[in-house]
């Protein structure tokens, strides 16, 4: 149980921070496709008798570089869709070859946060630090190019390289979070809290902190509720995330009825 809290906390911090840029850069589709597809890597590793986390990481990185390379000028919806389909197809094959079909696919898709063991903590912590370091390093170029690629480009920030770098960060975040909350649900943790946070503040650093806070409340309450009710953790993660987003929208409507108000900070 202590492991579950520790790992869920790390996942929430990473999802909150990386998710802020996912929402800012309108990269929700890659954020959906990379975790969904990356489970193919874990399935393959399972069949081959390798470490599933390693397989998942490799597959997520491959997808990120593929999407970034094939997508042109920030438009990577087609490349993302193709990468998603290819990886799902490969995942179907590896799951078909695997002996332990149902439990394996279930934990990969929906997570197994209550079953996290101590020796899984270290790799997750390592990936979390790597992610945070990379986001901190690229913080300003990511912010600037999220406003407009041309603004970054005029200051010597190569939009294409930055985009690939961001997708790699997304892949690393995926790799550490999928085994914990599952491929289907990490998406809700990366979109709901940051999308809710931006309703409450116009300051980027505050929005990031708020996004992390909402993600933390989401996973902590999900674990507690799951423990009490015996329902899947993922259910509560998804629902809490959606509720926090709805609350943010309601706040926006209530505090800014005219949609635009200059004094709103």
């Amino acid at each position: 149980m202590a492991n579950a809290w520790t790992v869920a906390t790390m996942v929430a911090v990473i999802a909150g921070v990386v998710g802020f840029f996912v929402v800012l850069r309108a990269a929700a589709f890659p954020a959906h496709a990379i975790p969904n597809g990356a489970f193919a890597g874990a399935a393959a590793a399972n069949v081959l008798g390798l470490n599933p986390l390693a397989g998942l990481t490799a597959c997520a990185l491959l997808a990120a570089v593929g999407i970034g390379t094939l997508g042109r000028r920030g438009r990577h919806d087609v490349a993302t869709a193709l990468a998603l389909v290819m990886m799902l197809a490969a995942g179907a094959v590896f799951l078909g070859l695997s002996q332990e079909y149902e439990p394996a696919i279930y934990s990969l898709l929906f997570g197994e946060v209550l079953g996290v063991s101590s020796n899984e903590l270290l790799p997750v912590a390592g990936l979390a630090l790597l992610c945070l370091g990379a986001v901190a390093a690229l913080y300003r170029p990511l912010l600037l190019s999220s406003v407009a690629d041309q603004l970054g480009e005029a200051r010597g920030v190569q939009p294409y390289q930055l985009d690939v770098a961001f997708l790699v960060i997304l892949a690393l975040a995926t790799a550490m979070t999928v085994p914990v909350v599952g491929a289907l649900l990490i998406f809700s943790l990366m979109i709901g809290p940051p999308a809710a946070a931006r309703a409450f503040t116009g300051r980027p650093p505050v929005a990031i902190l708020l996004s992390v806070a909402i993600a933390l409340v989401t996973v902590w309450s999900a674990i507690a509720l799951s423990y009490l009710s015996n329902w899947p953790t993922g259910f509560f993660v998804g629902v809490t995330s959606a509720v926090s987003y709805a609350t943010g929208r309601a706040w926006t409507r209530w505090s800014r009825p005219g949609a635009r108000c200059s004094s709103m900070g």
Partner: protein
């Protein structure tokens, strides 16, 4: 620095650029002097954006030379500030106008910005220079077009560039806001000794402040003072057709002399009074 004092801030010589095999700019030459206000005039598709992108180093060129302060342009340039063509900003984006202005100072740097006193002072000064103090705390995506234009200008000048490039800053503004932006840019050019190169498809709003004009048509350019360039002979040669330049109440109309070129009419009855 001694050599750079006398050199023009920007020198473009015989610049040719092709996009997808089509020659967009053909042997374009002009120069911009320190603190000068230059209008880059041409119809849609004349190559204005391509020319600005080439000066910025965002567009490779086939041939020709671009010199800044007498030296070949380096890859990344703090000498140039840039205001791109209308960008669509998400109104929900969690970024205040002042955050975007601050990124003009260090948005290309790695790491997290430190809130130093000098950084804050630079942001305040830049907001004041464009008259944006009152909406510095508003979300940049929720500002009006004219207000966003001011913030983008503040973003571009905060790093104290010597040359400010603006791509169609008046295109999406009503006449009054457009005049305000032009007046503001003229004041900034004088006060901060920054040369302004501004593209527009309409010459009249710029007439009161423009020192020089670069007129683009058919991929070629004519440059000089307004009197030197906006003449029937010069523009007819540039277009390859006869055009008439008519001056009415201090406004200039460029009228195609042949049928099929009616869209080149450059002015309408927009100016009140």
């Amino acid at each position: 620095m001694s050599a750079s004092e006398s050199a023009p801030i920007l020198e473009v010589e015989n610049l040719s650029v092709s996009l997808s095999g089509r020659r967009v700019l053909d042997q374009v030459s002009f120069s911009v002097g320190t603190g000068e206000f230059t209008g880059l005039i041409g119809t849609n598709g004349a190559g204005k954006t391509t020319l600005l992108r080439a000066v910025l180093g965002m567009q490779v060129h086939d041939s020709g030379v671009i010199h800044l302060l007498g030296r070949p342009r380096s890859k990344r340039n703090h000498l140039i500030g840039y205001v791109p063509q209308k960008i669509n900003l998400d109104p929900d984006m969690p970024m205040r106008a002042r955050d975007l202005v601050g990124l003009g100072l260090d948005g290309h740097r790695l790491g997290v910005p430190l809130r130093t006193r000098s950084r804050n002072a630079a942001v305040e000064a830049s907001l004041a220079a464009v008259g944006a103090e009152s909406f510095g705390d508003a979300r940049v995506g929720q500002l009006s077009g004219g207000e966003q234009q001011r913030i983008l200008i503040a973003h571009a000048i905060i790093s104290r560039p010597r040359l400010l490039l603006l791509d169609e800053p008046l295109a999406n503004l009503d006449l009054h806001s457009g005049q305000e932006i032009v007046g503001l840019l003229a004041a900034i050019a004088t006060e901060q000794k920054v040369a302004v190169l501004l593209s527009a498809h309409e010459i009249n709003p710029l007439l009161p402040v423009m020192d020089r004009v670069v007129y683009l048509a058919n991929g070629r350019a004519a440059s000089g003072t307004t009197e030197e360039v906006i003449k029937t002979e010069v523009l007819s040669a540039l277009y390859g057709h006869h055009v008439d330049v008519i001056s009415v109440h201090g406004r200039i109309l460029v009228v195609a002399g042949h049928e099929g070129l009616d869209h080149l009419t450059m002015s309408h009855d927009e100016v009140p009074g």
